[in-house]
Amino acid sequence: MEISAVLFYVFAGLAVISALAMVLNVRNTVAAAMSLVVTMVSIGGIFVLLDAYLVAALQIMVYGGAIVVLFLFVVMLLNLRTDDFPPVGLRLAKLGGGLLVVVVVSAIPRLLGGVFPEIPAAPTGYGGYRALGIALYTDYVLLVEMVSLLLLAAIVGALILAKRKID
C-alpha cells in the first residue's frame, strides 16, 4: 500500500473516530468541539491527499481556525455547564437516528463495491490556487458574488442577532 493510501485511511479513521467522539461526547461540549477540530483537520489532510491544496488550507483555516473557534467562543461566552445535555428524550429522533445508521451502514458495503474507475493522475496545477482562482473568477464569478452577498447578509444578521440592544 502506498503511503498516500495509508495516510488516507489514517486520516479517515481519525475523522470518523473524532466525529463519533464529537457526537457521542455528551459531557463536555468543549471536548466535542475539539473532536470536531480533529475531524476538520483530518478532512483537510484528506483534501491534501486528494490534491486539493487550497481547499485543504481553507478547510483548516475556516473550519479549524474560525468556525470551531467561534463555537468554542460561544461555549465559553455562555459558560455552559457541560453536564446538562443528555441525549434527547425523543424516541422518534433516536429511532430515526438508529434507523439512519442502519441504512447507511448497510449501504456502505455497496458503496465500497468498486464501480468507479481508478482515480486518474491529476494534471499540473490541479487543486492549486491558480487553477481554483481562475475557475472562481471566470466560470463562477456570479456564484462568488452571490456568496459574497450572502456573507454580507450573514455578517449583518449575526450582528443584529447577537447585539443586546439595537441602537
Partner: protein
C-alpha cells in the same frame, strides 16, 4: 345623433317640454340651495304643460291635415339602443309616432294635465309646505306628464316601456309625496312594486314577441313593423312544459297575455288592482291626473295599441274581457261600502277601467278609447271636485264627517253632480254614450259568454249609479256631520280650483258627442257618421269581427242601461235620502258581508299573508339564515375551513411540534425514503 328638425319635429316638443321643466326643477332642487320662488315654479311647470298642449294641438292639426292620408306622423329623434347586426339586430329608437290613437291620448293628457296643473297651483298652495316641496311636486308632475306622453307617443315597445316605467315611478313619487307619513310612503312603494309585476309581464311579452320575430327573421320592436310582420307568427305555437299540462299554445295568445299582465298591473285590474285604492294617499290632483285620468288608462291604451295582436289572439281577448268585467263588478261592489270619498272614487276608477278592458277584450277598441277619454274628463272632474270638497273641509276625507255641503259649496256641488250624473250614465252625457258603446260591444262580441259579460256590465252600471249617488248624497245632502269647528270654516275654494272644474264639466257633458254612437246619430240627431271619434280612430285600431246589431236592439240595450242607472239611483235615494239610518241597520244585520265589503274582501290582507309574508319569511329564515349563513358560509366555506383546521389540530399539529429535531427527522426520513426508492 339627434336627427334634424322636420315638420314632424313638433312631436318631440310635446314630451320634451315637460321634461325640460322637470329637469329644471330637479337641478334647482338638487344643486341650488335657495328655494325657487313659487311664481317661477308655476310659470315653468304650467307653461311647459300648456305649451305641450299647444304643440299637441298643432300636431293633431297637422295629422288631420296630413296630405298623404297615412294618418300618422313619425318623428325619429335619435337611435337609443342599438345592438347586433343581421338577423339578431335590435334597435330601439327614440321615435315618436302620432296616429289617431296617440293623438287622442296626447290631447287628453296634455289637456286634462294642463287643467290639473292649474288646479294644483291652488291645491298645493293651500298645502302648508315649503317652497321646495311645492317645486318638488311640480317637478314630479312635469316628469309624469313627460313619461305619460312618451308612453303614448312611443313608436316602439321599448320606448313605450320607458314611459310605462316612468309613469310608474312618478306615481310612486307622487303617492309618496308626503313621505313623512309612513302610510303614504308605503302606498307609493306598493304602487310601484305592483306595477313592476305588471312590467314583468310587459317585458316578457316584449321579449317573447321579439324573439319570435327574430325566429322569422324580422326582428323589430316598432309597432308598425310588428303589425306588418305579425302575420308571420300568428300560427306559431309554444310548447308548454309538462308540469303545466303539456300541449301547445298559440304563441300570440301567450304574448298577448303577457302584455295584458302589464296592462293589468298598470290599469289596476284583478288581481293587481290593490295599489290603486291605496294610491289615494297622494295629493288629490295626483289622484285625478294619474290615478284616474291618464296613467291607469295606459293599460287600456296598450291593449288598444296592440289591438292587432289581441285581435288574432282570441283566448287572450277573452281573458281581457272577463278580467275587465269581473274587475268592474268587483270594484263596484267594494265601492259601495267605502267611507273615504277618494277611496270610493278609486274603486269606481278600477271599475271603470274594468269596463274599458271589457270593451277592449270584446274587440270594441273604439269604445274602449272613447271611454278612456270620457272617463278622463268625468273622473278628473269627480276627483278634482272631491279635492275641492276636501279642501273645503280642511282635509277631511271621510264621508261620515260630511253631509249638507251643497249650501256652503254650491258650485262644487253642481260640477260634482254633473260628474256623478255622467258616470252614472245619465242619457246625453258623455258617460252614457261611452258606456253604452261598451255594453253594445260586449253584447255584440262573439267571444264565449258574451251575454254574461253584458250582464255583468249592466249590473255594474247599476251599481255604479248606486254608489256614486250614495257618495253624492252623503257628501252634499243631509245634515252636516262635520265637527263644529270645521263646520264654521267650510268655504268654497278659490277660482283656480273651480275654473278647471268648469272646463272639465263642459267636456264631461259634451265630449260624448264627439263619439256619438251611430244609433243616436241616426235616431235622434239625424247625422251620418256621427261617431267621428270611431271614424277617426278606425285606421289605427284593429277590427274584430262581431255581430251586427240593429238599431232596435241597441235602443233596447240603452234602455236597459238607463234602467239599471235609475234603479241604482233609486236605491241610493231610498237608503241615503229617505231612510238615512237604514244602511247602518242593514250593516248591523249583515255584519259579516258588510265587514267583508268594508275591508275590501280582505284582499290586501290575503296578499300579505299569501305572498308578502311568506316571501320575506322564506328569504330571511330559509334563504338568508339557512342557505346563505348556515349552509354556504357555515357548512361549505366554514366546513372547508373547519376541515383544514381539524386536520391541522388533530393530525398535522403533532408533526408540527416545534421541536426542530422532529422536523429534521422527517426531513431525513424523507431523504432516506427517496434514496431508497432511487436505489431500489
Amino acid at each position: 345623433m339627434v336627427n334634424g328638425a322636420t315638420e314632424e319635429s313638433v312631436l318631440r316638443l310635446i314630451p320634451l317640454l315637460p321634461l325640460a321643466a322637470a329637469a329644471y326643477h330637479g337641478v334647482m332642487l338638487g344643486l341650488v340651495r335657495r328655494p325657487t320662488p313659487r311664481t317661477v315654479t308655476i310659470a315653468i311647470s304650467c307653461g311647459a304643460v300648456l305649451a305641450s298642449f299647444v304643440a299637441s294641438c298643432v300636431a293633431f292639426w297637422s295629422l288631420i291635415q296630413h296630405p298623404n292620408g297615412s294618418h300618422l306622423l313619425v318623428d325619429n329623434v335619435f337611435s337609443w339602443i342599438g345592438s347586433g347586426v343581421g338577423v339578431h339586430a335590435f334597435s330601439a329608437d327614440v321615435a315618436f309616432l302620432l296616429d289617431p290613437l296617440s293623438s287622442v291620448m296626447t290631447l287628453v293628457i296634455t289637456g286634462v294635465g294642463s287643467l290639473i296643473h292649474i288646479y294644483s297651483v291652488a291645491y298645493m298652495d293651500d298645502d302648508q309646505r315649503d317652497d321646495k316641496g311645492f317645486q318638488r311636486f311640480f317637478c314630479y308632475l312635469n316628469l309624469f306628464t313627460f313619461s305619460m306622453l312618451i308612453l303614448v307617443l312611443a313608436d316602439n315597445l321599448v320606448l313605450m316601456f320607458l314611459g310605462w316605467e316612468g309613469v310608474g315611478l312618478c306615481s310612486f313619487l307622487l303617492i309618496g309625496f308626503w313621505y313623512s307619513d309612513e302610510w303614504n310612503a308605503y302606498c307609493g312603494s306598493k304602487a310601484f312594486i305592483v306595477n313592476r309585476i305588471g312590467d314583468f309581464g310587459f317585458l316578457l311579452g316584449l321579449f317573447l314577441l321579439f324573439s319570435s320575430l327574430v325566429d322569422v327573421g324580422k326582428p323589430a320592436v316598432e309597432f308598425q313593423d310588428i303589425e306588418r310582420n305579425l302575420a308571420l307568427i300568428t300560427e306559431a305555437t309554444l310548447a308548454v312544459p309538462e308540469w303545466l299540462g303539456g300541449g301547445e299554445w298559440l304563441l300570440v295568445n301567450v304574448i298577448a297575455l303577457c302584455f295584458f299582465v302589464g296592462a293589468v298591473g298598470k290599469s289596476a285590474q284583478l288581481p293587481l288592482y290593490v295599489w290603486l285604492p291605496d294610491a289615494m294617499a297622494g295629493p288629490t290632483p295626483v289622484s285625478a291626473l294619474i290615478h284616474a285620468a291618464t296613467m291607469v288608462t295606459a293599460g287600456v291604451y296598450l291593449v288598444c295599441r296592440m289591438g292587432f295582436l289581441f285581435a288574432v289572439a282570441p283566448f287572450a281577448s277573452m281573458v281581457v274581457a272577463w278580467t275587465g268585467a269581473l274587475t268592474a263588478v268587483f270594484a263596484a261592489v267594494i265601492a259601495i261600502a267605502q267611507t273615504d270619498i277618494k277611496k270610493v272614487l278609486a274603486y269606481s276608477t278600477v271599475s271603470q277601467l274594468g269596463y274599458m278592458f271589457l270593451a277592449a277584450g270584446c274587440g270594441g277598441y273604439t269604445a274602449a278609447v272613447f271611454h278612456v277619454a270620457s272617463h278622463a274628463f268625468f273622473k278628473a272632474l269627480l276627483f278634482l271636485g272631491a279635492g275641492s270638497v276636501i279642501l273645503a273641509l280642511h282635509h277631511e276625507q271621510n264621508l261620515e264627517n260630511m253631509g249638507g255641503l251643497w249650501r256652503r259649496t254650491p258650485r262644487t256641488h253642481v260640477v260634482f253632480l254633473i260628474g256623478v250624473l255622467t258616470i252614472a250614465g245619465f242619457p246625453g252625457l258623455s258617460g252614457f254614450f261611452s258606456k253604452d258603446e261598451i255594453l253594445v260591444a260586449a253584447f255584440a262580441s262573439e267571444i264565449p259568454g258574451h251575454t254574461w259579460l253584458y250582464g255583468i256590465g249592466l249590473a255594474t252600471s247599476g251599481l255604479t249609479a248606486f254608489y256614486m249617488f250614495r257618495l253624492h248624497f252623503l257628501t252634499f245632502y243631509g245634515e252636516s256631520r262635520a265637527s263644529a269647528d270645521i263646520r264654521e270654516h267650510i268655504d268654497e275654494p278659490g277660482k283656480l280650483i273651480i275654473y278647471p272644474l268648469y272646463v272639465l264639466a263642459f267636456f264631461a257633458i259634451f265630449f260624448g258627442y264627439a263619439g256619438l254612437p251611430q244609433v243616436w246619430g241616426d235616431l235622434v240627431f239625424g247625422v251620418d257618421n256621427s261617431n267621428s271619434l270611431a271614424n277617426f280612430l278606425m285606421p289605427t285600431l284593429a277590427v274584430v269581427p262581431h255581430n251586427q246589431l240593429d238599431h232596435t236592439t241597441e235602443v233596447w240595450l240603452a234602455a236597459a242601461a238607463i234602467t239599471a242607472g235609475v234603479v241604482g239611483f233609486g236605491f241610493a235615494w231610498f237608503f241615503y235620502m229617505m231612510r238615512p239610518q237604514l244602511p247602518e241597520r242593514i250593516a248591523a244585520a249583515l255584519r259579516i258581508p258588510h265587514q267583508l265589503l268594508v275591508r275590501k274582501f280582505y284582499v290586501d290582507e290575503a296578499y300579505d299573508l299569501l305572498f308578502v309574508r311568506p316571501l320575506v319569511a322564506i328569504s330571511d329564515r330559509v334563504l338568508f339564515r339557512v342557505i346563505d349563513v348556515a349552509v354556504i358560509d357555515g357548512l361549505a366555506v366554514g366546513g372547508i375551513a373547519r376541515l383544514v383546521r381539524a386536520t391541522g389540530t388533530n393530525l398535522l399539529r403533532h408533526a408540527q411540534s416545534g421541536f426542530a429535531q422532529t422536523y429534521i427527522f422527517f426531513m431525513i426520513a424523507g431523504a432516506v425514503a427517496i434514496v431508497w426508492i432511487l436505489l431500489r
